[in-house]
């Protein structure tokens, strides 16, 4: 639908309201509303995808020649911290702006928040359990924090959205969990690269799915 009517001059009653104008207005309004109310904005997901690729890629370049493994040097640390904080602030800000005035079922319910919180608590329990069992430092302080939160958090998010029958975030959750599992299998050095590339792909796929849904015509099947 290429033609978009100027609604400011549109007629005040339906008598002279052409069906073509109506179809264009219906599509335009639906697409605008979907865009403005989307809690996950495609541009933010795309920036996050590039950011995660750069940050985790830099960590991988930093550790790939290490024998034995010692972890990223302190030079990389500030970039990771800045990325995490900027990502958090941008995500919360965009979400609050998009969902202002919206209430109802799309908001997370207490039971769903509990499931997500339990997934995070489980990560700390696993790390604590491994530490007590005497597992090596590289596994506890790099491999598990890099992969297990993705697996558990991704699965929890997928389960919540499967119950809601909301298939895009379900796919994102499942994708994140698969990336985490692949990172776990890849080992402590390669996990940085697997996470970076995998999360970048998942985020770009999610952004593309949102753009497709927002631009899909309501009138033209």
């Amino acid at each position: 639908m290429n033609h978009t009517p100027d609604t400011s001059t549109a007629v005040g009653n339906g008598r002279d309201f052409d069906p073509r104008q109506a179809a264009a207005l219906l599509d335009q309004t639906t697409q605008q509303t979907r865009r403005k109310l989307a809690p996950a904005q495609p541009w933010l997901l795309a920036i996050r995808a590039v950011g995660v690729l750069i940050v985790l890629g830099a960590c991988w370049l930093n550790v790939r020649g290490q024998h034995p493994y010692q972890g990223p040097t302190s030079a990389v640390g500030p970039f990771v911290v800045v990325f995490v904080i900027a990502n958090f602030v941008a995500t919360v800000g965009v979400r609050m702006r998009a969902t202002a005035g919206v209430s109802g079922k799309s908001r997370l319910r207490p039971a769903e928040i509990t499931v997500l919180a339990l997934a995070w608590i489980a990560v700390f329990l696993i790390i604590g359990g491994m530490s007590i069992a005497g597992v090596s430092g590289a596994a506890i302080y790099t491999l598990v924090p890099l992969t297990v939160p993705l697996i558990l958090g991704g699965l929890a998010w997928a389960a919540i959205n499967a119950a809601r029958k909301d298939w895009r975030p379900f796919g994102v959750g499942l994708g994140v969990a698969v990336v985490g599992a692949a990172g776990l299998l890849a080992g402590v050095v390669a996990a940085w690269a697997v996470d970076g590339v995998g999360l970048c792909v998942v985020l770009l796929g999610s952004a593309a799915a949102i753009v497709w849904r927002q631009r899909r015509s309501v009138v033209r099947p």
Binding site: T7, A10, V11, G12, N13, G14, R15, F17, P19, R20, Q21, A22, A23, L25, L26, T29, T30, Q32, T33, R34, K36, L37, A100, G101, V102, S103, G104, K105, S106, D166, V218, V219, R220, P221
Partner: protein, 98 residues
């Protein structure tokens, strides 16, 4: 040519209201002020159009009071969703024949 189109929806302002509310996720409601902001309508005009749609059973409004502030939320009813689906199908049929 437009006889098949629901006259209650086939008015630009009301079509925008119904399309906006239909784009919300299932079970969600929108505050009056956010709806007004999205549509760029004056409060008076929006109230008149909402009243017509509510009288037809196409949408429901709920007023809640939080201290001195009153908040009005709006949502499309099942009947409103059905009416928009029928309207959209009628538009498709008309445009397919053009």
């Amino acid at each position: 040519m437009t006889d098949e189109l629901d006259p209650l929806i086939h008015v630009p302002t009301r079509l925008k209201i119904v399309a906006t509310l239909a784009a919300l996720p299932d079970g969600d409601t929108l505050s009056f002020t956010r709806l007004q902001d999205l549509l760029g309508l004056t409060p008076g005009n929006l109230i008149i159009q909402l009243r017509k749609l509510e009288e037809a059973g196409y949408l429901s409004t709920e007023k809640t009071r939080n201290g001195s502030a009153q908040k009005t939320t709006v949502a499309l009813t099942r009947q409103g969703h059905k009416a928009l689906d029928a309207y959209t199908q009628a538009l498709r049929d008309l445009l397919g024949g053009l």
